[in-house]
Amino acid sequence: MKIKKLFVRRLIAIILGLCAGIVMEFDTSGLIFPTFLIIGVLAGIFVEIVIEVIRGTLTITREDLRKMKNPVLRILVATSIGLLAGIVLEHIAIWAAFPLFFILGVFAGAAFGTTIELVRYSRSMRRTFLEGKGLGMEHLPVSTAELIRLVIKKMRYRRKVCQDVQEELAAHFEDELKDCETDGDRRQKAKALIAGFGDVKLLAVLLRRAKKRCRPLWRTMVARTFQTVGVLILCFIFYMVWFLTGKPVITTNYVAELNKKVRPSADESLNAAPLYLRAVGLQKELSDDFILFLAENRQVVVDETFPQRIEVLAGKIDRVFSDRGQKDFQEERQGIRDEVSKVFDELQKKKYNELTIEQKNISKRWIQEQEDALELVVEGSRRPYYWRTYKSGGDNPDVMLGVLLPNLSDFRRLAYVLRLRAGLRAEQGRYEEAFDDMKSCYCFGQHLRGDKFLVEQLVGMAFEVISVQTIRDIAGRYKIDSKLLTDIHRNFEQIIAGEDFITSLEAERLFIYDEIQRCFTDGRFGGGHLYLSRISALASDYQDDVEEMVIETIFSPQQWPRAVKVLFAHPDKEQTRETADRYYDFWTRLYRKTPGQIKAEGIDAEKEALEIIEGNIFLQILAPALTRVNIIAYRRKTEVHATVAVLALLRYQKDKGSFPEDLEQLISAGYLKQPPDDVFSEKPLVYRNTEEDFILYSVGPDFIDDGGVSSKDRKGQDAPWREDGDTIFWPVAKLQALK
């Protein structure tokens, strides 16, 4: 009874503490969940212990501490050990949403300590009970009492029931022996009774079975429930052992496979990569002089995008980049250099004819500084191949995820400067050189495509697009003679001959294969499931998101089935690989269709792709979204074909004195091999002769012919490839240079 009261009191204290914690959690809008819950529970226990000490129901002596006699003390120690284990685990397992391991540690420690104490208590009670104190056994001969104890011990059932049976048997024996007058008679009779008692074990079994039948339904149900829970816990433990013992086995070096795939069987002297990389090396950082020059001309560099940034920087530049400041401001100088580079990058991204005269002067100086690098790019672009050896940037060079593409932004910068130079050269009347620069830019882009990473291909596509746009710009802005037009037209047709304009997903596929072999355990015991260490490493970049997701899942019961599925019933390695294959096969098939064909066939690409990876959490996290890529790729195709057609039309006009009535006339006159396809309408691009000029356009991503009316940006200029309006390739937008 006393123990029950104690237990209830402690339980109430814990519940009160928990309630206080919940209130605090609500008060802080769950900001530091579940810290207050833990503090609440621990505070509840602490306060209760203090009360018990004050009341004198709990005394912890020095001896208790030394020998750990007090059960509360032992539970507290177990809880502290759990907490320490939780802290260690928090440090080791970086994926865990803090303070998950703290809580688990505290609760596991407390549960473990309490269970041990309960078992100890139960054993001591059983010992006392088996000694028969208070159950009438003391009046029986020793041999009889021993026999009863043996039966009860073998009965192995609830203590209360055993106590009843023991008392009943003791009374029975006592009644049997009550007529014996002497101790000798008692012993004699007891011996006879024991001899006729039968099999002790069998009796114990019969008694247990009979008593089990006596228990009420609710007790049976509780027992069955506990048994079921026990079995489930056991299964869970087995599952966790299985889950945690498996390790991935790396069987394939996919980085090497990719290197093999991108490496043509050609001599190294035909590879453009070394030249491009040398160009990157030669590409100059902004020199101190140039930065000071920019500061002096800040009003020139400034446009509406960066007014404040450059103004703030300008003040610092004088101070930091002057001769006096050179020694004192090393760190600050680098910071300013980076900032100025960012601002200047924006300037470089502009088309040459969009710049003001002052901005053009700055660009000229910048182009001069980059001449050596640009010449290497031009030289590289003449080589037929481009391949590089991919390597992981981490400790292990064979991990696809670690393959770094550090040169892409440098490449991009070079392409922009090349475009600026083409613009400058065109302005200087050096049209042929200007076109050569843009051909180089196009070939540079071509080099980055093929079975390479998607991001490389996208950068390559961007280079191709800026190249053809600039060619059209120059052709539209300046009077180019027929011979040069013919040369550039033929050259360009040769460059694009045989291009299929299809995006390759082979590198992406190998990337996923590599991650599958690293994120799933393999073979033997514990094989095929997700490998948490790797997943946690992948998720570490998104730790905040993961924590939010864990908390959200804990508090959303409707999410629990999904969470259980993700943890325990996710597709295994083989299934994931099959799904990944289906996913990439789907996109590869789709990439052979133009946006117009996809629309005509009513394919909802995104939906279908998501359906393929539905239920596969691994692919849902890692598989890239690929819908936009196809549109970008086919936009490029249209841009390229439109440029070829524009060059052909300009040649026709130079030769015949007027533009053709339609594209058929252009083709039949031998200026164009085939009409330029509009990938959005699945028809040729729309061409109209406007007497002095012509218009050539695509219906654009809205698939609707708006009669050659383009969408406009906020400056009122034509904005190509918007969801509304057409995309006009000719006449080129008459951009007004900024003053």
């Binding site: 009438g136 009843d164 049976v165 008392e167 009943e168 048997l169 009374a171 029975h172 006592e174 009644d175 049997e176 006729g196 008692f197 039968g198 099999d199 069998l202 009796l203 019969l206 008694l207 079975r209 009979a210 008593k211 039948r213 006596c214």
Partner: protein
Amino acid sequence: MKFESQLLKGIAPVVVLEVLSRGPMYGYELSQAIEQRSSQILTLGKGTLYPLLYNLEAKKLVKGRWENNQSSRKRRYYSITGRGKDQLAKQKAQLKELTTGLNLVFGGAIAMA
């Protein structure tokens, strides 16, 4: 003997119910009563009696309750329940039929009082 023990096992519940139908008894008292009434022919040892009583209790044919008697020794008294009485009547009728049948087979050699 096996036959004897099997026979006893079959009729033991009805014997216990019959004895208890005359008043509540505790285990030892019950075993003594059965022995006396059967002129020492039927003997239920502790190994049979108590599991049998618990089984009858589980079937709600008897009810057990702890009581202190004069010698202040706590004893568990068993009494027959309403359901036990119905069961007893049913089993007695079956037993009677069985005896009639056996008498016919054995030419009245097995006579029941």
